[in-house]
């Protein structure tokens, strides 16, 4: 297996090469015609799309020219890890050890899948969890229908096009009608090569009335050159399905984490998401939740905690296409050091989407003198029988709470930590996924121990 993987990386993908048309052609060379054509189409879209700069409203606060040196990035050139836990780095092993109660696991190391396992009782009921590359030959029909078509097509933007043309591997999860997964599917990603550009995709399809939870965790050590990890996430919940998607980003410094996520909730489906952004030098998440059928519901949670010179940019949209759907967004963040966050969110209610309930809240806590938070919550309402509201705030630690805790014997730092955990805790409380909450809380506490006023 390891050899096969090494072969793929070393020869087919043009290790160490530039992000150019040749790289696309190398990837497409051994692929079925429909996929090769899709890549070439995405490349043409990429070339025709101008690089967004700070004059673009959506990129006003994140200067790509400064933060993402695309010309300097290379296709990774590293020996992927073997499918043997003992050879994995400690950080990856520890993350996996916490993930025992899982429906299945998938591990991506440096952009390609090196390990997959799934409970046999689930495979016998038709559940599919496999590398996206394998799925190209195993499930061509489903992939042709869904891959980079409805959810995150290349036309979405420059970086989405780049991902659609250069993706090397990813995750495919398909749950048949009526099948319910008791435990979450756990995906862990490990990145090790500084200066590389990684492109992967996730495609999740939950057929009617099925139920699943999916947890994706991205890890790396600090990287001494800017390294791009680009992911395109497509989640489709058919009528009455129930999907929980969680992403936990704990990359090291030097990483530019870029995620384009779109969730499609059909009638009576519930499609909840949680984005936890803790690591990386730059984080850019575009999340678009589309409510396509009456009775659809999306709860969108987000949590970020920055220190040093970290930069977070969360760009969300709640698209109410169908009437009588509901969406509720809560993003909370704490900012220490000289870190900076941007939250830009929009609720769009289309004409005819009556009886919409849509809410949006963004709250920020500024912990240090040089931290900065920008919040841009927007509403665009084209129907009148709706309940829509949004709220945003930026503030500092509540002196009274601190004083109260310190009067009970806590040091200033301890009190501060507790208040921050309480502030961010509201997000985790809304997510009924116990093992994930435990993990996220532990990571936050770790970060707080090092982070506050470091």
């Amino acid at each position: 297996m390891a050899e096969a993987v090494a072969d793929r990386v070393g020869q087919r993908w043009g290790a160490g090469g530039r992000l150019d048309r040749e790289a696309v052609e190398r990837l497409a060379a051994h692929e079925p015609a429909w996929l090769a054509e899709r890549r070439m189409h995405a490349w043409r879209v990429y070339e025709a799309t101008p690089m967004p700069d700070t004059h673009h409203e959506e990129w006003r606060h994140t200067d790509l020219a400064h933060k993402l040196p695309l010309d300097a990035l290379r296709i990774p050139d590293v020996e992927p890890l073997p499918d043997d836990q003992r050879a994995w780095p400690l950080l990856l092993r520890r993350a996996m050890e916490e993930d025992e109660d899982a429906a299945g696991h998938l591990v991506l190391a440096d952009g390609c899948v090196v390990h997959t396992d799934i409970r046999t009782d689930l495979t016998s009921r038709g559940v599919v969890l496999m590398s996206l590359r394998e799925a190209v030959s195993a499930h061509p029909k489903l992939l042709r229908e869904h891959l980079a078509t409805q959810a995150v097509p290349p036309e979405e933007g420059k970086l989405q096009a780049l991902n659609a043309t250069l993706w090397t591997d990813g995750v495919f999860l398909w749950v048949p009608r009526g099948v319910r997964l008791e435990h979450p599917v756990r995906v862990t990603r490990w990145y090790s090569e500084p200066g590389a550009a990684y492109f992967s995709r996730t495609l999740i399809v939950a057929e009617p009335t099925s139920e699943l939870a999916y947890v994706d965790e991205a890890l790396s050590d600090d990287l001494d050159e800017t390294t791009l990890t680009s992911t395109a996430v497509e989640v489709i919940a058919r009528d009455g399905a129930r999907v929980r998607y969680v992403s936990v980003q704990r990359l090291g410094r030097g990483a530019f984490y870029q995620a384009a996520q779109r969730t499609l909730a059909e009638g009576d489906a519930t499609l909840d998401t949680l984005n936890v952004s803790l690591g990386a030098s730059t984080t850019r998440v575009d999340l678009n939740a589309r409510l396509l059928g009456p009775g659809a519901e999306s709860n969108m949670l987000g949590l970020y905690f920055g220190d040093g010179d970290q930069h977070f940019d969360h760009n969300t949209s709640q698209d109410h296409v169908a009437p009588a759907a509901r969406s509720d967004l809560l993003y909370k963040g704490a900012l220490d050091g000289a870190s900076r966050s941007v939250f830009r969110g929009v609720i769009r209610v289309a004409k005819g989407a009556q009886q919409t309930d849509a809410y949006q809240t963004n709250r920020n806590l500024i912990l240090s003198e040089h931290a900065r938070a920008d919040s841009l919550p927007k509403l665009e309402i084209n129907a009148d029988d709706v309940k829509c509201s949004h709220g945003a705030s930026v503030g500092q630690l509540d002196e009274e709470s601190l004083f109260y805790l310190m009067s009970r014997g806590l040091t200033h730092d301890q009190a501060e930590r507790l208040v921050v955990i309480g502030f961010l805790g509201e997000v985790m409380q809304r997510l009924p996924l116990g093992s994930v909450s435990t993990k996220v809380n532990r990571v936050i506490e770790e970060k707080l121990r090092i982070g506050v006023h470091a």
């Binding site: 509403l379 009148d384 029988d385 829509c388 709220g391």
Partner: protein
């Protein structure tokens, strides 16, 4: 859902402003804009050399700046800008007595009730007709105390030093495309100076009227409120409804010295063929307060975001904004508060009503610079949608660089509640009465801030043909 007939009748009554006066201007430039037009305006006004240079420089900036692609749909505007008259001089010189104002123009302002209001409730009145102030007058007691209330042209002539010290310092020509345009072709507007410690107990009012078809009005107002002074300035705007579009683009600059208190009220009820693109900004020094009261009821498209730059410790800025967007109207309005000093505070309250194919947009900025310690800002936006074709947008920008700042923003969008209607009708009200009451209740927090006669006016504007006798 209230029935459509009722919704149809819930509308602004603009007919009372829709009358035209037939008159002959003493001079006007050819339609369209060129360097010659800019020079002609300056020549006609017998301006000093530096002002001509300023205009020409601004004209070049205007040509360079692209048309904004956000906010209202301005795709037809280039066309309009090629065809309008940039400068129309209605009479030879400005008058200080209504008796001297030509009959047809005086008649216009009489119909609008200006001379009557002047006697009763105002400290001073300025009236602009097309491109020039045709009347300016200040009550003697305020004149004696050193208050200056003049046309902007007289400000430049009679107080050149004070004028030049502040002119274009709050809003430089390069601020945006339309401030550049205004800087190139400005004409009319007020020059106001409130001396140290003077408290004006009644408002100053300027009234802007566009009568000519295909007219561009570019008034420029400069207000300086000296230390510890207090004053209230009101502007009203109307025009008859023509089938071709007209254009209004004002620049209002206000400098508020330490501990002064200034309120600027606009009730804009332009006809629905008017593009109204205005830049209004106040520099607020230590301990001073600026209040913008902004009512946008008329026009085809308005883009207008009154701003407070809080540059002195403890400065306070407040923006109350109300917008009504009926069929075919887009009100893209809001406010900006920039905190650039410690302990500065601000509030923005915005209420909008959209009806028919109307679209009301709140667009606002709250920015707190690092070092503006212990600053606070609160923004509240409420939008009411009257029927299913109406549209409401909210775009608040919140940019915070200061740890000790506290900033909040809340917005809601709703329709007239079934339950509220049911409750009121079960108490014996007709549906019309109930809706009028709900709408009035919705705008009440802003209406009550207006001087009485304006509150009455606002209520009457949002009025229905009611069979009963409410109101």
């Amino acid at each position: 859902m209230p029935n459509n007939a009722v919704v149809e009748r819930l509308d602004l009554d603009q007919n009372k402003y829709d009358f035209r006066t037939v008159d002959q201007p003493v001079f006007r430039t050819e339609p369209g804009l060129s360097e010659e037009v800019v020079r002609a305006i300056s020549t006609h006004k017998e301006e000093p050399e530096w002002m001509l240079d300023f205009r020409l420089k601004a004209y070049r900036i205007y040509l360079k700046k692209p048309m904004p692609t956000w906010g209202s749909d301005l795709s037809d505007l280039e066309n309009v800008l090629d065809q309008i008259y940039y400068y129309v001089r209605p009479q030879d010189r400005m008058m200080n007595s209504w008796d001297d104002v030509p009959e047809s123009i005086k008649d216009t302002f009489q119909k609008l009730g200006i001379p009557e209001a002047e006697q009763k409730v105002l400290a001073g009145v300025g009236a602009q007709y097309e491109s020039e102030m045709v009347y300016h007058s200040l009550k003697k007691e305020w004149d004696d105390k050193g208050v200056i209330f003049d046309s902007i042209e007289d400000g430049l002539r009679k107080h050149p030093e004070l004028f030049r010290k502040h002119f274009a310092t709050v809003i430089p020509p390069a601020d945006n495309k339309f401030s550049a345009l205004n800087s190139a072709v400005w004409s009319g507007g007020s020059f106001v100076y409130i001396p140290k410690g003077v408290h004006l107990d009644t408002p100053l009012q300027a009234y802007f009227r566009v009568n000519q078809e295909r007219m561009g009005q570019f008034e420029r107002t400069l207000i300086i409120a000296d230390e510890g002074s207090r004053a209230h300035y009101i502007e009203g705007c109307t025009a008859p409804a023509y089938t071709t579009e007209s254009f209004h683009s004002g620049v209002i600059e206000i400098v508020i010295a330490k501990d002064a208190h200034f309120r600027y009220t606009t009730i804009q009820n332009w006809s629905r063929n008017m593009y109204n693109l205005v830049t209004q900004r106040a520099l607020v020094n230590a301990g001073a307060t600026m209040e913008w009261l902004d009512g946008n009821l008329g026009s085809k498209a308005t883009m207008k975001y009154p701003s407070c730059y809080l540059i002195g410790e403890g400065a306070h800025g407040s923006i109350l904004s109300i917008a009504y967007a009926g069929d075919g109207q887009h009100q893209d309005t809001g406010g900006k508060v920039v905190h650039a000093a410690p302990r500065t505070t601000s509030t923005i309250v915005s209420k909008s009503i959209s009806k028919g194919t109307g679209r009301a947009t709140y667009r606002g900025l709250c920015k707190v610079y690092e070092g503006s310690t212990a600053s606070r800002s609160n923004v509240e936006c409420d939008a009411l949608l009257i029927n299913e074709t109406a549209r409401s947008d909210t775009y608040p920008y919140i940019e915070i660089e200061e740890r000790s700042a506290n900033v909040g923003h809340e917005a809601t969008v709703s329709k007239i509640g079934e339950e509220q209607l049911f409750y009121l009708t079960s108490r014996g009200m007709t549906e019309e009465e109930a809706m009028a009451l709900i709408v009035r209740g919705f705008i009440e927090p802003i209406a009550k801030q207006l001087p009485l006669e304006y509150a009455v006016e606002l209520n009457r504007l949002i009025e229905m043909e009611m069979e009963g006798s409410v109101g």
